[in-house]
Symmetry: C2
């Protein structure tokens, strides 16, 4: 890959820079005038660790790298701002492949109002992406951390859960964009659910607008579900110094999760609580603002579901449908 030529071709394809970007890619650094407060997050995606090239279109890999990074900004209630990409290119990925990957990224950037403001392209032994994203708010107090949940707050989650984990089961079983699924028992509505689960795993949606709506509606703590509901709830419990009680029956399961779980021999609630990578938002809210939050989030086209509450104490309790209780520690002091 000729770095200069590739960068020139990338630049031609970039959507117009956002209002905060004074100078984009091509000098020693990008120049922005952020105003207010900035939230910055970094995420790496490495072939064989976070994804497999055989399971994804290249455009989906570019999409997912940016989506995963933007999801952290969504969890702060930030407005999407700028993204910077390090692309490590292995020998078997040519320039057209790089552009296909970056097209998936720029499409999501355009859709979320994110400016791709800079980057670095280098050789690497395997396909490597490191994303840095910056988001904005008028002041630092407008961002929602993991640390403000109070006993009595309602616990809510955006969208649907379990889809990404179910999608991973499907991919492990041979489904995917380049191979027909071996889940031959699925058809009709079930096949639609299967496709949703694959899309969840391969092309997650960062809940940027939903996060801003929740912040505006008074969310006291927020996190995106990357590691899995149980673990991420534990981060909020630890950072806020409270306990979280979750009722598993109330969890909004993604269409298709039940069917995939049945074929795979999994518990659908386990997929929803421990699977991770759904990139939905988990938030604590004063109960009197729940209706306002629900309206605001649903105006973005995403549902908002109350799944539990904040209590005095520590750690996470998930009440299972059969009457059992799953406990997770609050381990934010370590994360």
């Amino acid at each position: 890959v000729g770095e200069f030529e590739l960068l020139a071709r990338v630049r031609e394809r970039l959507p117009q820079a956002g209002r905060r970007t004074v100078l984009g890619s091509g000098d020693d650094a990008a120049v922005t005038v952020p105003g207010g407060a900035t939230a910055t997050s970094v995420d790496a995606l490495i072939d064989g660790v976070h994804f497999r090239r055989a399971w994804s279109e290249l455009g989906q890999i570019g999409h997912k790298a940016l989506a995963v990074a933007l999801s952290d900004l969504a969890a702060m209630g930030a407005e999407a701002g700028e993204a910077y990409v390090v692309l490590g290119v292995p020998e078997d990925l040519d320039e057209d492949g790089c552009l296909e990957l970056l097209d998936g990224m720029t499409a999501l950037a355009a859709r979320t109002g994110t400016t791709l403001a800079g980057g670095d392209v280098t050789r690497a032994p395997v396909l490597t992406l490191a994303m840095t994203v910056a988001g904005h708010a008028p002041s630092a107090d407008d961002f929602v951390t993991r640390a403000g949940a109070r006993p009595g707050d309602a616990l809510v989650v955006t969208g649907e859960l379990g889809g990404a984990a179910a999608g991973l089961r499907l991919l492990e079983d041979g489904a995917g964009p380049r191979a027909p699924s071996r889940f031959e028992s699925l058809s009709g509505q079930d096949l639609y659910g299967e496709r949703l689960c694959l899309a969840r795993q391969l092309e997650p949606t960062p809940r940027i607008e939903e996060g801003r709506a929740l912040a505006a509606a008074g969310a006291t703590a927020m996190i995106d579900l990357s590691d899995g509901l149980g673990g991420d709830a534990g981060h909020v419990a630890g950072a806020s110094g409270v306990g979280l009680r979750i009722d598993a029956v109330s969890l909004p399961l993604q269409d298709g999760v039940g069917e995939v779980a049945e074929v795979a021999g999994d518990d659908p609630f386990e997929l929803a609580t421990t699977g991770g990578e759904d990139y939905e938002l988990l938030a604590a809210l004063p109960p009197e603002r729940l209706d306002e939050a629900k309206s605001a989030v649903e105006a973005t086209g995403t549902q908002l579901t109350r799944i539990g509450e904040i209590v005095a104490g520590e750690g996470v309790e998930i009440r299972l449908p059969g009457g059992g209780i799953l406990r997770a520690a609050g381990f934010d002091q370590l994360g």
Copy 2:
């Protein structure tokens, strides 16, 4: 490596956060209140591409990753602000090794007033570092791009050239922190020069204060010398739409470069003009402000040398000691 445990140990060792950092590592994103304008740059360092573990102490690798990134901010005339690190850890690097690497990084961060505000640790097939750095200035106009050089401007360079390339020759020949040099003909003053060249290659210094001094003294264009003087001068020529004339005899050679070049059979001026990785700053200045710039840069302990001039036209001409002329194209439109 346990990511959570490692991050907790890293956080204990971080110097205090800078005044712009409201919330450091540990939530979904770091929160800063930048004020004014921000310059952001990303750089990746990958084992086998940008460095070799066998040639470096781990602390030097951490140092160099941050130094290379900060050098881009120096070239903008920015004040160092925050750094974000993606650390991809291979199987044969344990937690203590990661901390040794990060100690080298935090030491440079402390010395340059940089806040390590966030990061991501992941597995990777080889040691992989991706750095994002943000620097600051009161307004976007205070930053110096590559694009403002004007015919008649003086061309200056900070510090000394050729050392990093000479250091690379030494390492390729078996010198280094863990192996005695095979350059057995070197001794006394020459051995001192050899050590300087190795340090140049393994632990480069970002010229942050020098860059700010040059910006304040009216630099019209600036770039850091990462690819080599000829190539980087070409970026300035291309971006500014001018020609650059450089007199090779005036180039400030690093102590030791002459001796290493002689033993290795290289031309010292070739090391200085094409070697790269010296991370000095090349700047254009109105000639009437040259004395002011020289005083300001020398007050930081670094010399400033006039090496040529900006002319109407395009591309780079380097006049060699023997009377020959090297020509490099202005190719910033591609870079």
